[in-house]
Symmetry: D2
Subunit: 252 residues, 4 copies
């Protein structure tokens, strides 16, 4: 449940960097996603075409504040997004670093406080920092979106122990791995660790075949979630036979 909304699909999809609008549309369909993130900052004729696709997708829109580097800028962008898209949902990105696109913990909390107070339902793009996570929850966030790795890096889950600690620390807060996912197996692993959903963009948009890759991630997210719910086997240091022996070959 993300702010009271139940979703069938646990895959959320970004909409940037696709080779063409047609591919974007097809990838959204293939992914089975119900939530797509969109940047406010699409202007001109291309922007119109883009918004048409978004509207036609049947997905819930999660506008984002990508490209914002201060709380003020992010808040202003969020307000514009609410007006334009008619939703209280906002994916809050406040980037502290142009090179790694790391969130700015300080500006993030500041912007989250303002937006939550204004009735926004905030999905903050954050790190695996537990204290930062707590501050965001205190600010009113009911979902957290920790990164797997820097945006666009495809490094997967680069601090697995830190993410495990985060999952354990916030058992009741929906947690979405956002950014860094590079492969379907990365996404499956995140789900096996008990995360509630995965948001990705580059790994699909920049795949050789984005539509097929969207389908791959859809399956991977399902696989990981099913595996998590089904109860993974324990990992063993010592091997045991998986084919017990009920008889003996007759040796001539």
């Amino acid at each position: 449940m993300f702010y009271g909304v139940a979703l069938q699909s646990r895959l959320m999809l970004g909409t940037a960097q696709y080779p063409s609008p047609a591919v974007l549309r097809a990838a959204i369909a293939a992914s089975g996603t119900q939530v797509i993130t969109v940047s406010l900052r699409r202007e001109g004729p291309e922007g119109a075409r883009f918004r048409e696709i978004v509207a036609g997708s049947g997905c819930r829109i999660l506008p984002n504040t990508a490209g914002c580097h201060s709380a003020r800028e992010a808040v202003t962008t969020a307000r514009m997004a609410r007006e334009l898209f008619g939703t209280n949902w906002i994916k809050l990105e406040v980037i502290g670093h142009a090179d790694t696109l790391q969130p700015d913990p300080f500006a993030l909390v500041e912007a989250a406080r303002i937006l939550c107070a204004e009735g926004f339902e905030v999905f903050p793009y954050t790190t695996e920092d537990l204290v930062l996570g707590e501050r965001l929850v205190e600010a009113g966030c009911r979902v957290l979106m920790p990164w797997g790795a820097p945006i666009g890096s495809g490094q997967g889950l680069r601090n697995v122990e830190g993410l495990r600690a985060m999952r354990a620390h916030f058992p009741d807060v929906p947690l979405v791995i956002d950014a860094g996912i590079g492969t379907p197996s990365d996404a499956a692993r995140a789900m096996e660790m008990g995360f509630d959903a995965v948001l990705l963009n580059t790994a699909v948009a920049r795949a050789g075949n984005p539509v097929a890759m969207a389908r791959a991630f859809a399956r991977a997210v399902e696989a990981g979630r099913l595996g998590f719910e089904a109860g993974l086997m324990p990992r063993r240091d010592m091997a045991r036979p998986s084919t017990p022996v009920f008889g003996m070959a007759e040796l001539g």
Copy 2:
């Protein structure tokens, strides 16, 4: 193509260790597999029940020589299996070690030579050793089944670089990761690396819910294969923005 047989599903399933025959039957169905491995060594009333399930599954049978510790024993077991199951297919296991269930490279090649000469279509359970793989191919094997990790360990792919080298070294030999897979994400990763299929048993049979886990692995294998075919994004050290910016928020 495995010895001329084209399969829709790239997941092969073992049949040992299930909590009950009913669960085994349901897990086979949920997995979508077309190939199940069975041990010859099932005797008595339970054995009859077991063979009934196997026959009713609609799957192709891949008998195995699990529990054999010498070439002679494995060859004898393979011959009995051919008679009993009416197939030339044989999953050749010759175990050198009770504790790790590591293949015995020497006995494996010896048994493979004999069996190939007798018209068997041999699926050897092997390590990632390139020279051993070559010997098996020279012996007549047209498929290789390298381990991911020791049988039943659930350690996943414990020598990723070695397995990559093996995939690169045998571009035209169907390679099936057999043993060690613990999680759906392990299976997806094996497929992303270009392996042709995955064979597993414990990870499903010993899951909290084997039927749901069988479904999870079916999705994971599809996800990994689709991802491999779709072309994974390159991994980057430096992050790049995945949401390009087309405009600027108006700051009051």
Copy 3:
């Protein structure tokens, strides 16, 4: 150079958890360290004995604010430490979490600002967060001490990519890996990555033989630093022969 002080040894040592004062003294000597951290909070007869060892070690004292959970508490503790130990150096710990001992980014910056303004030379125990690091530098810190992993966990460097990014981002700030180091090889690796020093405690104090382990870490830190300066060989995907062949065996 740490606040203008050049050190011969790049190993800093904590003084808690040793089995006895004698072992502590011997471990300090064996480590070759020139900087030891001490907690203010040692009272009573044991405290006197402890301070005697510290004074007799010949090491520079780096008092810490271990156990502080707010900026106010840390600042007060730092002031008391300055009085007691007669040094402006302070290892600033503000713990956000009892269970993981993760730094509190917000209180850390707040306390660092106050202490730097009061003339302290602050060594902040921080995470690998780049933005947090920048704020600490802006506050006046001339050294940063990122964690390898949670205090006392012995997990080593659990976010290697994040730490690499931090090293690259602060080329001119002395960076000391503080906490999480479990093994000599962990310490060597940190040094190979270009970190300026390593601070550890549990891995020595809780070793089977703390004195021998102190010696091990001394060697490891030297090894890693020498390796870093000597220029590590590039890692290769493809192997190459390390013994080139200048002749041929005569085969009879």
Copy 4:
């Protein structure tokens, strides 16, 4: 004890690929090694110069059969080496693959049998394969030299679990990690895992500064061994404070 010889240094050094004879000589001295491997195949004037350095090093010579691709070739080379260097020690390399320099398990056992029967004291370059290891021991080898990774790759220990299993399986056989070591921390880790020594070449010879790197590895091997003997702290999932608190700051 390696064939009855006790060594002070647990670092063995190869002698190929150095930028100059002078650097080789200095690196040997800096490493503190007592065993150097040399290839028979050095002919001509350079060969004479090389043998002079080797003789002057004061080290025990461990001739190797590098570049041999069959048992017969290796055996012939070993015999020539015994004559030339006047030692029964032989590092037995039989390479199955030009690209990865992987040992050929079959030819290796064959050659080991012949050489042990002829009174050689064989140090076989092998994989982490347990069955292969047993065959070599049965053939008369009293030392095993498993690879960390392919020769010259600098990948470190690429199958840590497999190497751990090998160490556990051969508690009484001296095991030397040979090949693949890229960094001092790799060497330290091998020693922490309980291996008896490390043999390396490329990581020193191809370092920016080979002499300094030789010193780095000397320290690293000592560090790892000391750490192993001193008893490494247990790794914990949950962090614990390393600075226990004996008092409380007075908050004004």
